[in-house]
Symmetry: C2
Subunit: 449 residues, 2 copies
């Protein structure tokens, strides 16, 4: 399966430090990276050196976190300004920003993402999400709408944005000094779309980019997400802890695409992978301990629930006893539990069990590069993933570690490309260029003006 196919790899670029709590305090890390656009640019350049297809910026914007006394917020100051800086100082890597369909005007979002597409010469993607947190809504002085309303609006916003992106035809912009023709007016078309929630007349001011227009990503795993992505997305930012779950999600997105008359391969399913890459497992575990040990008291408490047995925070140095291991039952409420028990049975100390990242947001590799490569190959070949978005523990050296220790192995195994196939995100993802207005938006009511 996947014979000859190559996997895609994206880099998660968040708060500038990395995905692990404590990353901002690590040796060699500039503790001011949170406000440093230089740091983001350098990190994106490291990913580009590794030929990664895209960087991916999640976004809230929810409440400031409760642990702000000791931890950085998780997001970028602003995703579009971050990608603008990166666009100017990289040449190949794709630039995918998250933007909520719930609390943005489609015209504003369409304009800024298309401008980024121009600025980056065809490397922009938009991760279209709905906002579901009351803390996000509160920042807009509102309450969160129902799921039906949020996804109803999302379907309208995506169609309006795609139409605005396509409101200049492929050859609309002439800029011919000899003839004095700036543009073909008849190829710059108002979209006149009006849905139940949002509308726009358009057109945008912006001609096509080198890839026509940006690509749509989606993140989520609900039936609503399958439907939105099935209609519009070319890639899904996924989250799954097991091959089985990932494969089920991937198939659900592929089936959804088919329901909307698309080829299943038009949606790439890309789950997350968190990495702590060092020369050996021991060194990697020690690095994770340095990063997260301050959280171990609360994590021991949670691990008790995952394994269904009492654990003693004072015995961090000791492996679990035979009695404990025999009594342990993986919690059915947390899909990470079987893996946690498996690690425990390998005889690691309680501290090292936690250092394996058994409680984290995505599968975690703590070890040499080959372990990450093996994980990725297994998932890829099992039809559980078209690629991965990588979330290094500490960006300042964790991106380089992935690029230097994992990428070459994947390339050697012919699982990852040797170089960029082109210069646009559509080329990187094998998605055809898109120009003009998708005829399928005709289902949206047209205004009579």
């Amino acid at each position: 399966m996947n014979a000859g196919k190559k996997m895609l790899i994206g880099l998660h670029l968040g708060n500038g430090y990395g995905s692990q709590p404590g990353a901002w305090r690590m040796p060699g890390v500039d503790s001011k990276s949170y406000t440093s656009f230089d740091a983001r640019v350098k990190q994106a350049q490291a990913a580009e050196r590794g030929k990664l297809q895209f960087i991916f910026l999640p976004d809230g914007p929810g409440a400031i976190m409760a642990d702000i006394e000791t931890e950085s917020p998780g997001f970028n100051l602003d995703v579009m300004l971050t990608l603008a800086a990166v666009a100017r100082e990289t040449e190949y890597i794709g630039l995918v920003a998250t933007g909520s369909t719930t609390f943005n005007e489609p015209f504003n979002l369409a304009r800024q993402s298309k401008a980024l597409d121009i600025m980056s010469h065809g490397r922009a993607g938009w991760n279209a999400i709905t906002s579901s947190g009351e803390d996000v809504a509160a920042n807009y002085g509102k309450r969160i709408p129902s799921g039906e309303e949020r996804y109803g609006r999302a379907h309208e916003v995506v169609q309006i944005i795609q139409a605005l992106w396509g409101s200049w035809g492929k050859d609309a912009w002439v800029h011919d000094k000899e003839t004095g023709q700036f543009a073909h007016k008849d190829q710059i078309i108002p979209i006149n779309l009006q849905g139940k929630f949002v509308g726009s007349r358009g057109p945008l001011y912006i001609p096509p980019s080198e890839q026509g227009q940006p690509i749509i990503f989606h993140a989520g795993g609900s039936p609503n997400a399958y439907e939105l992505a099935g209609r519009f997305a070319n890639a899904v930012i996924g989250a799954a802890f097991t091959i089985e779950d990932a494969r089920a999600q991937r198939n659900a997105f592929r089936e959804a695409a088919k329901r909307f008359g698309r080829e299943p391969d038009e949606i790439k399913y890309i789950p997350g992978l968190m990495t702590t890459i060092e020369k050996d497992r021991r060194t990697a575990l020690d690095r994770r301990i340095q990063l997260t040990e301050h959280l171990f008291p609360q994590r021991v408490a949670y691990l008790q629930q995952m394994l269904g047995i009492p654990l003693d925070i004072k015995r961090l140095d000791e492996p679990l006893s035979k009695v404990q291991l025999d009594a342990a039952r993986p919690s059915r409420y947390d899909p990470r539990s079987p893996h946690a028990l498996q690690i425990a049975k390998q005889g690691w100390s309680l501290r090292d069990i936690l250092a394996h990242g058994v409680i984290d947001y995505h599968p975690v590799i703590v070890g040499p590069g080959i372990e990450a490569a093996d994980h990725m190959q297994a998932w890829f070949e099992a039809g559980a993933a078209d690629g991965f978005w990588i979330s290094p523990d500490v960006n300042s050296d964790g991106i380089d570690a992935f690029v230097d220790e994992v990428v070459p192995i994947l390339q050697e195994r012919r699982l990852f490309h040797q170089d960029y196939e082109g210069k646009t995100l559509r080329e990187h993802l094998g998605v055809p260029d898109q120009y003009g207005i998708d005829p399928r938006v005709e289902e949206l009511k047209y205004k009579t003006n």
Copy 2:
């Protein structure tokens, strides 16, 4: 008057070509500048070489213009992305983006403008305007609200944005690796503001910049504009054709500031000036002719109304006759009319009268640098302006012409600074740094949550 004071100068940075129709077709101009961020960066760098205090980006976003067949749209693809590129590749010049309070969520606008302030190390300004065109509203699927509603919302949006900007106290961000303290949580304060039109809980994620937070500009000349600017603005992007009108506007803004308990000098009134700078008047006129001659038929028709006499498009080479000049009466409906008649009476041909820019959006200098310097000195010393925003005819060489031919004269006359006084926009404008939440926002109803 103004003894020892220096004038401020800003550069209008619009579509990348310059302010004159036809600029995109001029020799030496890259006809693709409309989508070129390189071009904008180069132009901003030219202004920085001239020690200009800021660049100013107007914005709509209204309908695509009717003359798109032959002319570029007037605006930037996106003002924030343009300024992001400029921020990364300049060091001193202030960055002022227009953003509408009518069709933006305050949280989004606050976040992006504050992120720009961080990115530029304290050089951001926000030109807070209301949108009044139905063509703008249509891009949002809406109708334009009444003036009362628009300005009511604007007052709320500005207060919420200022509060969000100030939601991290001056010393809130600690980032101390030794102690492990990232921030002082008690100095990061939700704003909990809710007005009649908009609200936000906050806080933002963003610590203070080198100037604390961005500066507020306003553009407009109505009683509503005086009130909004009088409360909040540190600078006004003005439009006036005569010293008398400019002085009256400037005084109105200063009086408005006083009504809100501020010092009049806290508002800088900055009218526009359009420039075609060449070594002599004749060369400059020929340049304007090259730029705008294709519009002369419609301009002759309009000039007839301004002067109240019939004019013959076939006699472009001839001065107005004595009979015509004796019969001419400046229209009271167009404040540019007396100046147009004055130029006509100097004996210029009809073509040259038009080439003087007697029909344009702001006063126009067509001639050697000293004429621009004289104009600026006269207005400045008459209390009609605290500075000027310059709108060159063609950016690719018009900015350099201003910098090389006008700035040195103003410096020699001690009317313009020799160098930047500091590195932030507040330093450039003599506005104190601002931290925390302005106590005056307490008038907005606080939410009970």
